[in-house]
Symmetry: C2
Subunit: 144 residues, 2 copies
């Protein structure tokens, strides 16, 4: 039931707390973790007026910025004997998370209850709420 975990992260504090709970789950049969970060494509749309940057360049900058943190998570899990796959995607976060759940044949999702707070989440519900509603597999929601 917890063999292959999908761990979507926006690197917020609660996402980091969720990461700790993956380690707590380890003895329940966790074999592999897919660490997923979704770069919100709407962010690109919001800054598309910017004259000196193109999407590909911004994407590269973001990936560079987060790679240190991602690699330290990878190492921590691998040291526990857990296989790790990292996916950095661009899109609408909750939709990408649900896509990856299908594609990777995930057994359970571990997610923070709220991401980096923003107005949209307050109005429309959090990414995790949408994921919980639409996911096929069990979702462990870790609270702030």
């Amino acid at each position: 039931m917890f063999k292959k975990i999908l761990y979507p992260t926006d690197f917020s504090d609660v996402a980091k707390k969720a990461f700790e709970s993956i380690k707590a789950l380890r003895s329940s049969g966790v074999r592999e973790v897919v660490i997923l970060h979704v770069i919100d494509s709407r962010f690109f749309e919001a800054v598309s007026w910017h004259p000196t940057k193109d999407f590909a360049q911004m994407e590269r900058e973001i990936i560079e910025e987060i790679s240190g943190e991602v690699e330290s998570m990878r190492k921590e899990l691998e040291d526990l004997g857990i296989k790790v796959k990292v996916r950095i995607e661009t899109g609408i976060p909750f939709l990408k998370i649900l896509n990856v759940e299908e594609e990777e044949k995930i057994s359970a999702i571990v997610i923070g209850s709220h991401g980096v707070s923003n107005i949209e989440e307050m109005l429309m519900g959090s990414v995790s709420e949408k994921v919980i509603r639409k996911a096929k597999k069990p979702v462990l929601v870790v609270k702030r």
Copy 2:
């Protein structure tokens, strides 16, 4: 992190699936499970016109009806070496669940994503959605 599990159940199919996941979590340190069934007090209000029944009598009838199922869950967990406490409460389900989370010093909640389907859940969101939003501790949401 999974030491003392709160398992709210309305005996729906998805609640039974959630029960299976408690067993899957066992090796992650589950020591005790609180099995909680909340008799929805609004149900009593809805039938309060009934001339021949009083609340206490109806409550007794419901408790009798569910006791077989509760006792077989208790036995199954105790056979795995897990301590079990059963609580049957009357009230608004999501509020009672949150009360019991506090009172029992729960470490995590395991719940089905949707209960016995009803119009109110469709309009107002499910009990589990409200629990996820307000719970202090991690919530494992098991899907239909």
